[in-house]
């Protein structure tokens, strides 16, 4: 498995290492500060547990609040001589040297969600943050016929927010009639978005549609619009693929579309990591989870009543 590792039995009394080769996946994720990440962590752990049961592959999981702590976590994983590492970098730039370090240690690396700036990753499983913005932008242009007043509810400042926002702005800028009249942060939180949307509704008597960067926030926005009894708003879109949003789409609510960015992408990453640990060559070096547009037409394909997210 870990063929490139030369430190086989370097005096350590680790019984697992001395006996038959125990395979281990190291997983380094950010901490659960919002719903999507909470769901992702949960998916990762479930998948890792499943692998442990079916294949006997062990796993170690770490969570970090900031890039430096994540670098520390990865150091710990390298020190434990895990066979493969799955990492969701908090910041691409900051974790790129860390990826290099993993590569230098001869450990295969599976990157989830956010790409590194170098080629340290063996496999990348990513969603398409920019795609979310671009696809949403296209949808807006189409639905509003190139003319309308739009409100944007962003995530807290971060590269994800940046990518989704700039994709959206680019796509919308193609039409001169489209105007983003307010752009405020809902912190990836339903309650905060509710509050922020209330205030935005107050400031803007005329709104045509609302773009939110996350389904959790979209739910707050829906509530605010409902409470204010506003009828000028034609639709709201989200991102991610949360159960509550799917249900609203199914029920012909104000929610008309969302763009897939499922936290379950980490399951693929963990599975791939398991395969790599067993010595298999990964089938492809890049797995892109399309930011598929989910609307009334195709929502039933994606709806899972058991989902936690």
């Amino acid at each position: 498995a870990c063929g490139s590792s030369e430190s086989g039995g370097s005096g350590s009394t680790d019984e697992e290492a001395s006996g038959d080769e125990q395979l281990t996946i190291g997983i380094s994720l950010p901490s659960a500060t919002h719903g999507w990440m909470g769901a992702l962590i949960d998916s990762a752990e479930k998948q890792a547990k499943a692998l442990k049961e079916s294949e006997g592959i062990d796993y170690v999981m770490t969570n970090a609040e900031d890039p430096n702590t994540q670098a520390n976590d990865v150091d710990d994983l390298i020190a434990q001589e895990v066979d493969v590492i799955v990492m969701l970098p908090i910041e691409s730039a900051a974790l790129s040297p860390v990826g290099q370090k993993i590569k230098d240690a001869g450990i295969p690396l599976v990157i989830v969600d956010r790409e590194l700036e170098n080629d340290a990753a063996t496999v990348v499983v990513k969603g398409d943050n920019e795609g979310i913005g671009v696809n949403a932008g296209k949808y807006f242009v189409e639905q509003l016929n190139g003319e309308g007043k739009i409100v944007e509810i962003t995530g807290p400042p971060s590269s994800v927010t940046e990518q989704r926002g700039s994709g959206f702005k680019e796509a919308v800028a193609s039409e001169s009639g489209m105007e983003i009249i307010a752009s405020q942060s809902g912190d990836f939180s339903t309650e905060k978005s509710l509050e922020v949307m209330q205030n935005i509704l107050q400031a803007n008597p005329e709104i045509d549609a609302v773009f939110t960067q996350d389904d959790g926030m979209a739910l707050g926005v829906l509530q605010a619009i409902k409470e204010a009894g506003r009828t000028d708003i034609q639709f709201v879109t989200g991102a991610g693929g949360a159960k509550g949003v799917f249900e609203d789409i199914q029920n012909d609510g104000l929610m008309k579309a969302t763009f897939l960015y499922s936290p379950t992408m980490v399951e693929d990453a963990v599975k791939i990591a398991g395969d790599i640990a067993k010595g298999e060559e990964p089938a492809e070096a890049m797995v892109v989870k399309e930011a598929t547009q989910v609307t009334k037409e195709n929502v039933d394909e994606y709806y899972d009543p058991e989902s936690k997210f």
Partner: protein, 309 residues
């Protein structure tokens, strides 16, 4: 006359700061004065407001409670589970209150009997309660399945939303508790001079436990409102950083960090100032990147205006 003014200033400078900010906000944005907007602001501050009332009591006693946000999430998650399991709204509400007050009671025990600095005891509770909430909800959010539950936070009474009424009632109750009962008197005494309070035959430990249990109960109430408002609660993001807003409101309201001095009325105006600030930043569409700066600046200015010792 002059001494009257200076008395007013020294006792209620926060009210003057409030009036200035209020006038400023009216001048900057005509929509601010809109009746709906005013009611929105009241609604938006009610949850943190209820917590800030409890925080005032804790800080008057010379302590601090950093765990409010996490305990809110935990109480919310557990109460939704109880609600769904029992189908009874009363059981759901009661569970939230019980979880909140029990967490508070534990904080009180640690501070009073364990002699742990309140900062560290409640920091531990903050990590612990969040952790348990995440564990129970598997990192995701849980939604109520009992119809009628959402009515708690979404009903009106005359023009006021129900949460605003609850906030108001709680404010009156806590005011009476602090100024008309011996509990309140003892809290002030304890915060001012713990040893002298003890030598005055006050059971300091019980008062401390009472203080933390009280804020825990208030957090439980806040959890009910928050959960009922959106019929769901997120184990990861709900309540995040509530402690900072609550503490800021208390200090803006003129309560001394070290205890013994301060007023419930001050806290109410403190929380209103924060509410107006958030509202104005959304109304004015201030860049999310700069909102922290504006908010920090105005908080500091409001505090500078206050009487110094």
């Amino acid at each position: 006359m002059k001494s009257r003014m200076s008395w007013l200033w020294s006792e209620y400078s926060v009210i003057i700061a409030f009036v200035i900010i209020y006038i400023g906000a009216s001048a900057m944005n005509p929509r601010f004065l809109d009746m709906n907007n005013q009611l929105n602001i009241l609604m938006q501050v009610s949850i943190i407001g209820i917590i800030a009332l409890g925080m005032t009591v804790v800080m008057l006693s010379g302590g601090i409670d950093l765990s409010v946000g996490s305990v809110l999430a935990l109480a919310g998650v557990v109460s939704v589970l109880a609600l769904n399991a029992s189908g009874s709204i009363w059981i759901g509400v009661l569970t939230a209150l019980l979880v909140g007050s029990f967490a508070g009671f534990l904080n009180g025990l640690m501070v009073a009997k364990g002699r742990i600095a309140s900062f560290i005891a409640t920091l531990g509770m903050m990590a612990g309660a969040r952790s348990i909430a995440l564990y129970i909800a598997e990192g995701g959010s849980v939604s109520g399945e009992v119809s009628g539950f959402t009515a708690i936070a979404n009903s009106d009474f005359w023009i006021f939303d129900f949460p605003v009424i609850i906030f108001f009632v709680m404010a009156v109750l806590i005011y009476v508790l602090m100024h008309k009962t011996r509990f309140g008197r003892y809290v002030y005494a304890l915060g001012s001079n713990e040893k002298a309070a003890m030598l005055s035959a006050i059971r300091v430990d019980r008062i401390k436990i009472g203080v933390y249990t009280l804020i825990g109960t208030l957090v439980g109430i806040a959890a009910v409102i928050e959960t009922s408002r959106l019929n769901s609660i997120s184990s990861s993001s709900s309540g995040a950083q509530y402690e900072l807003d609550a503490i800021a409101a208390v200090i803006i309201g003129g309560t001394r960090m070290t205890g013994g001095r301060g007023k419930i009325i001050g806290t109410i105006f403190g929380i209103l100032i924060l509410g107006i600030l958030n509202n104005m930043m959304n109304l004015m569409n201030v860049s999310p990147h700069l909102q922290g700066f504006v908010k920090g600046l105005i908080i500091i200015i409001a505090v500078v205006f206050q009487k110094r010792e």
